[in-house]
Each structure stands twice: as structure tokens, then as C-alpha cells.
Amino acid sequence: MKKKESTLVNMVLVLLVITLASGLSLGYVNDLTLEPKAKAQLAKKVNALKTVLPEFDNEPVSEVLRIKSDQAKDSIELYSAFQDNTFVGAAVTGVSEKGYNGLVKLMVGFGPDGKVNNIAVLEQKETPGLGTKMKSEKFLKQFRDIDPATFSLKPEKDGGEVDALSGATISTRAFSEAVQQAYDAYIKHKEALTQ
């Protein structure tokens, strides 16, 4: 077949057809993936909740409490968990912008006594092999069962009690700050959560 001449009409027509076809097909794929995308995000949240909270039988995701905070860009989310109608704990999101590459977002689970139950990392962009070790059991272990009211949530370098990741003090600092933020939000709104 002969190649089309580069006349104005030809060029405009061809580009129009190509953009139209690509636009339509993208819209179609977007429709297809909309539901799985939402599902994947929800599943991530539910998984994080299961990790950080003790056993519960209500549905924390549908009973989320969102509050605005001056420290965080997005609102802080608080999920309360009940077992047989007794309050067993709450999961609170905490963020810090002070990570090595920006945002660090955590989900922190607290018991009714204010002690940390467990922590899950929701989002982070830290250096692979250094800051990403904040997800490791070895690092997370030290936060379990601490009471942030008496435990200083700062790296040892800054006069606190957190054993920093080697080579990633900045990541540790951001992590600790996010935990502290979650704790502050939890204490502030504990009343509303336990009902």
C-alpha cells in the first residue's frame, strides 16, 4: 500500500482517529479496572487493621472516624474495634512528611490502656535496604506493648528511646513521629471511639 501524503487534511484526520481510538479504549479499560482497584485498596486497609488490632467482630472500616489535623494533610482515620460489644482497641493512621523521600504513613493499633498493640506500614518511599527495614520484625518488635505516655518516641540520637535502623536515622525519626501523631489523636478522641 502507498503511504499517505502529508497533507494537512490527512495529518489532522489520522491524528484525530488515533487519539479518538486511544481515548475510547482507555475509558473502557478504566471502567473495567475501577472496581478491582477499589477492592484492592480496601483489602489493603482490612489487612492492615487485622495486623494491628486484637481480635474483633465488628466492621471497623465502615465505622471509621475521620478528623482533620493541622499536622497531617489528609485527615487522620480512627477505627475502633469491638469484641462482644466490649472495646478492645483502635487503629489510628499516622503520617510524617519527614521521611528520607517524603511521606511515611503508618497504621498503629492501640489497646484500651493506650499501649501500642502493633504497627503496619501503609506507605513509604524510603531507601531500599535501609529505610525500608522499618517493615522488618526486628524493628517493629521494639514498639509492641510500649506506652507512648512514658516511652520517648524519638531515636536515641535525639535523646529518645527508639533503637534506630542502622544507616536510616531519618527514616526512624519519621516513623517515630508518625507513631506519636497517631497516639496523640487516639488519646484526644478516645471517648468517641469507645462508645
Binding site: 489520522v14 482507555l26 531500599p128
Partner: protein, 201 residues
């Protein structure tokens, strides 16, 4: 017979003689950026392979309908569409990989390997030849990224495909996980690769 031989050569050139990463040094941005582990390298390679294959098919099909003066914008729109499809599918079905690759998925659009093959090969050759060219080049890219990712993961983290073979607190060459390590590992791998494939160098 001559034709099948040609196809075979066409396929193999992408993997060995004209390997996009080790020989032609194309697509360096994802090559250096995401290969901090073998799995990331493999994921990025497969995503690029898919885009390359689809864009080669479409470009080869419409090559006679596209006026010469607007061929580059036309190719870029086609490539960008497929990249966006990959991005949406990854986010929906493999969110873990989507997070790991991050900004490098949209950047597949500007991977010069893909536009290069569309311009230099698919726009001048038949559909079957373009498909084989895309598969060869794409697999060469997958191979190179996986090897590079594996090398960096082994040296920098003491593991391969997340299977650790050193203790948790062992000292590894963290440098290889960091950006400078990508350059160092790539250069040595390119030397080894060219030594093995071009005997006369």
C-alpha cells in the same frame, strides 16, 4: 526456509547481538531506577515487553495510513495508551508491584527502546516480523533487567527474589542497592556480557 532462518535471527538479535541494555544502552532510566531487586527488574521488564509488543503490532498495522510528518506524535499516542492500560491493570490486580515501580510505569512512555523499535523497525516491516522483533527485544530487556536486579539484590541485600541467604543483621554492600550501585553493576555487567558475546573484543 530462508524466511524462518531470518525470523530466528531477527528474534535472537534482540537478546544477544543487539541487546537493548547491554549492547545498545537504550532505556537507561528504568534500567537504573527500578532494578534494586530481581523481582522489580522482572516486573519492569515484563511491563515494558507488553507495551513494546502491542505498540509494534499497532504501528506495523497502521504504518501505511500514517503520514510521515506526524508519525512520531502518532506513535507516542499509541505507546502512551498502552502504558496507561498497563498502569491501570497493575494498580487493580498487582498493587504490590504497582507501588514498587511507582513513577517508572508512566515513564515507560519515554523509554527510547519502544519508540526506537516503532520508528526503526515496525514502521518499515511486516506484522509477523515486527512481532518477532518486539519479542526478541522485549525478552532481551527482561533478561537484562532481571540479571541487573538480581546482581544488585545479591550484593546489596544478600537475597534473591526475596529469599535471604545471609543472616538478618549481616553486613551487605548497601551501595549496590543505592543509585550509584546501579551504574557500577550495569557497567561491569555490560563488560562481561560483551566479552562473552563478542569474542574478538
Amino acid at each position: 526456509m530462508a524466511n524462518t532462518l531470518n525470523h530466528k535471527q531477527n528474534f535472537l538479535k534482540g537478546i544477544i547481538k543487539e541487546n537493548p541494555v547491554f549492547v545498545m544502552l537504550l532505556g537507561m532510566c528504568p534500567t537504573l531506577g527500578v532494578t534494586s531487586s530481581a523481582f522489580n527488574g522482572l516486573g519492569m521488564g515484563v511491563a515494558t515487553l507488553f507495551v513494546l509488543l502491542m505498540s509494534n503490532i499497532v504501528v506495523s498495522l497502521i504504518k501505511s495510513q500514517v503520514p510521515d510528518k506526524v508519525r512520531i506524535p502518532a506513535f507516542i499516542i499509541i505507546i502512551a495508551s498502552f502504558v496507561t492500560v498497563v498502569e491501570m491493570v497493575l494498580e487493580a490486580f498487582i498493587p504490590f508491584l504497582y507501588e514498587q515501580l511507582g513513577i517508572f510505569i508512566p515513564l515507560i512512555v519515554v523509554n527510547c527502546l519502544i519508540l526506537g523499535r516503532a520508528e526503526a523497525f515496525a514502521s518499515k516491516n511486516t506484522l509477523p516480523a515486527s512481532v518477532i522483533d518486539a519479542l526478541g527485544m522485549g525478552l532481551g530487556f527482561v533478561f537484562a533487567l532481571t540479571v541487573l536486579g538480581a546482581t544488585r539484590e545479591i550484593l546489596g541485600n544478600g537475597s534473591i527474589f526475596d529469599v535471604r541467604f545471609v543472616t538478618e543483621d549481616a553486613n551487605t554492600f548497601i551501595l549496590f542497592i543505592l543509585p550509584p550501585g546501579a551504574f557500577i553493576a550495569l557497567s561491569y555487567l555490560a563488560v562481561v556480557f560483551n566479552r562473552l558475546t563478542h569474542k574478538t573484543v
